[in-house]
């Protein structure tokens, strides 16, 4: 056991003395994470959250409903979400949207209130008021923000419509059932309006919405918490194949068989080499995690969960490294295949773009990569999850590692690796 440990530590030291390997192990993932942080605006304070949506309201109606809609946008409820500005000219408001200064303009035309609540004169004369529409002038380059503005207007209108449908239904049904005469309708409408205004249930929904908020603090997901592990995991595949290459290099140089003249058996030698690869991979991941935490203030999440996930991911990746080594004949083959697999696993595992955007078949196929499972776990931790939430990724990574190791052992046995 001690010999295995010593061989592992020796390989760890050698890996971190190799400047060329350090470029891939540490410099490249760090530089790419830095680059991704720059291009996503992570370092310039850009936020993808929705807040303070600029909106211009032009209220030409100046009556109850127009004023109520304007008041809604200025209410405390929406204070964080929208930043309303009153305008007087529809043309100027539209121009502000066209110039991308606002996400939307809401134009409430004159007569909007009267089109829904007829004036006494219209009601007395039986005039059907003409429908007047609120215009939401939406900014196509801000579809989400404009959609939210529209949904607020929609909600307001649905409330107004509900009141109107209720009033019309009640009055008409009473006329149809003979409870009141058409002449009494106006008076009944006024009485009903007053009663509903004073009713505590006026704003209640027929279907109750029980809203509950999860425990804990709000977690603002840091985009770097996805990008940094993505890059670290991609270059972890380089480290494990580089470690595998060292096994074949030692075989070619004759150092592996030479060790057999010492009181060390082949299992101890190979075990030490594999342990060295595992240690190097774990050290690489932990250094990158430490560096990004210190330099970018990146919150990786629950510390214990991070460490366990790193060990599981390195275990599975080492399994892949062993398989590549077991299948290859020369160090050059390991280097080429290892680099290719590093890049393929990187793109399949979500290091370049989110897996959710990939076709379903690719998402399914990505499950063969340790990158996809580990990135899934790191995302869970970044979102506030703990070790308890990592059962699936850790189990999958450990299973993957065991299968790959067993396969590699069989292949190594056939190769008789330690014998010259």
């Amino acid at each position: 056991m001690l010999k295995t440990f010593i061989i592992g530590i020796k390989d760890l030291r050698l890996a971190f003395r190799d400047r060329a390997a350090l470029i891939f192990m540490l410099a490249a993932p760090f530089a790419l994470t830095l680059g991704l942080g720059l291009v996503t605006g992570r370092f310039s304070g850009n936020s993808s959250g929705i807040s303070d949506i600029p909106v211009i309201i032009v209220n030409l109606d100046k009556k109850e409903l127009g004023n109520a809609l304007e008041d809604l946008f200025s209410s405390q409820d929406l204070a964080e979400l929208v930043e309303p500005v009153s305008g007087s000219s529809p043309e100027a408001a539209r121009q502000s949207v066209d110039e991308d200064k606002s996400a939307a303009a809401i134009i409430i035309p004159e007569g909007f209130t009267n089109s829904i609540i007829p004036s006494q004169a219209d009601f007395a004369n039986g005039n059907e008021p003409e429908a007047i529409q609120i215009e939401v002038y939406a900014n196509p380059s801000r579809p989400t923000s404009a959609g939210i503005i529209k949904s607020i207007v929609d909600e307001f209108i649905s409330r107004v419509e509900e009141g109107q449908v209720s009033a019309q239904t009640s009055i008409l049904q009473m006329i149809l059932s003979g409870r009141i005469t058409p002449e009494q309708a106006e008076q009944a409408g006024i009485e009903m309006g007053q009663r509903l205004q004073n009713s505590p249930n006026v704003d209640t929904l027929a279907i109750k919405l029980n809203s509950t908020t999860a425990d804990g603090e709000a977690v603002q997901f840091d985009i770097l918490a996805y990008l940094a592990p993505g890059m670290a995991l991609m270059f972890l595949m380089y480290t494990v194949s580089h470690g595998g290459r060292s096994i074949l290099a030692e075989k070619a140089q004759g150092t592996l068989p030479r060790m057999l003249v010492t009181p060390t058996n082949s299992m101890q030698i190979l075990g030490g080499k594999v342990f060295g690869i595992f240690l190097t991979g774990a050290a690489q991941m932990l250094i990158l995690i430490g560096a990004t935490t210190l330099l970018f203030q990146l919150k990786w999440g629950d510390g214990f969960g991070v460490v366990m996930l790193v060990f599981a991911a390195v275990f599975a990746a080492t399994g892949w490294g062993m398989l590549i080594t077991a299948l290859a004949r020369t160090t050059a083959q390991v280097a080429n295949v290892g680099s290719a697999i590093m890049l393929i696993f990187g793109i399949l595992g979500g290091s370049f773009i989110s897996l959710e955007q990939m076709p379903l078949a690719v998402q399914t196929f990505s499950k063969i990569t340790p990158n996809a499972w580990a990135l899934d776990g790191f995302t869970t931790l970044g979102l506030g999850g703990t070790l308890a939430d990592l059962f699936a990724p850790i189990t999958a990574l450990l299973t993957m590692g065991i299968i790959l190791f067993l396969t590699s052992v069989v292949l190594f046995g056939k190769k008789n690796l330690v014998q010259k």
Partner: protein, 398 residues
Amino acid sequence: MKKIFAIAWKDAVIRFATSAELIFFIILPIIFTLLLAGGTPSGDDDNRIRLVVVDQANTPISQEIVAELDRSSAVNPEVLSLEEAESEFDARRATVVLIIPAGLDLKSIQDGTAQLDFRQQPNNLNASVAERAVQTAIRRVSSAVNAANTAVEEAKSRGTFESLEDEQAYFNEALQLAKSIQEDAPERVTIVEGNTPDDVEYDPRANQSAGQLITWVFIPLFGISALFAYEREQGTLRRILTTPTSKATFLLGTISGQVVMALIQMSLLILFGMFALDLNWGREPLALFVLLTSAALAAGAIGTTMGTFIKTEGQASGLSIMMGMVMSLLGGCWYPLELFPALVQNIVKILPTTWAMQGLLDLILRNGGLMQILPEAGVLLGFAAIFFTVGVMRFRYE
């Protein structure tokens, strides 16, 4: 001339000595182009807030609620099982979950017992927006029932019903009436799309075809540095000193050989773009040739300069891949440059990849011709001139 050709041929033979080189030469670029072109959002994707819905009721009313949510401009409902939804919510992958419990039907709404569960993550603005959208959908679906209930209450305020059956009949008639009023209701909101220009010119296939072409061609051209380091390590460079071969002949042979191979690789990737991705790369062949040659010369020159600084082949090969990937990322080859912060957009103009990418996009996205790409080609040739000068001046056989 014969010597130059011989050196270039020797480099090609060394490079393609193993079939593994083909993986990096053509296979990986094609895989990356396909996956990134298929997986990058095109801008037409649904960017509404994701709302996980669990429909345990599976009644016409619950389906109406889901359909109403689907029409919302704020949320995008995704129906999952309770187990899946809870798992996503616990892992904080779902901001909001709406649970429609079993038994939600017309009768429960009429009785006033209908309830939905809405779970949201703490202090999340998206969750507040989604809650508002859910309330609107519920209001729309239940407003006819609400109106009929109000009608019954109004009727009761003017006298009682003779029996419960009478009350139910009155409710049913009022419900039908409310539904017909709802159907006849005019549209109260009109949406007009503004004329805001969209700064992001993006087509996943065109961008990725151009971007991956630059990435995978720049990396091996930077790898000229590894070629120099390899020959220096092997001592073959020193041996050339014993032959009547000048430094210029050696450099020209090595660099031109790699540039020609890069042009062959680019041609293959252009053909892939034309036939597999249906891109019109062949519209301006002369402009395309000028731009690709300028880009290849710029990258080759940088590789030459790198080769004069880096000592070992291993370091050179690692740095070539790292620099190639970082420069491609920052040059807008993976994600559109227009999405970068303004300051970064200006800083990355010092990179050749930025100019090469802009030139290719001028051709494929903006239908430009030779005149439009001349500025980019000029900058790339400027890079080539500067780095070749530095590289040749610093070049040593030992």
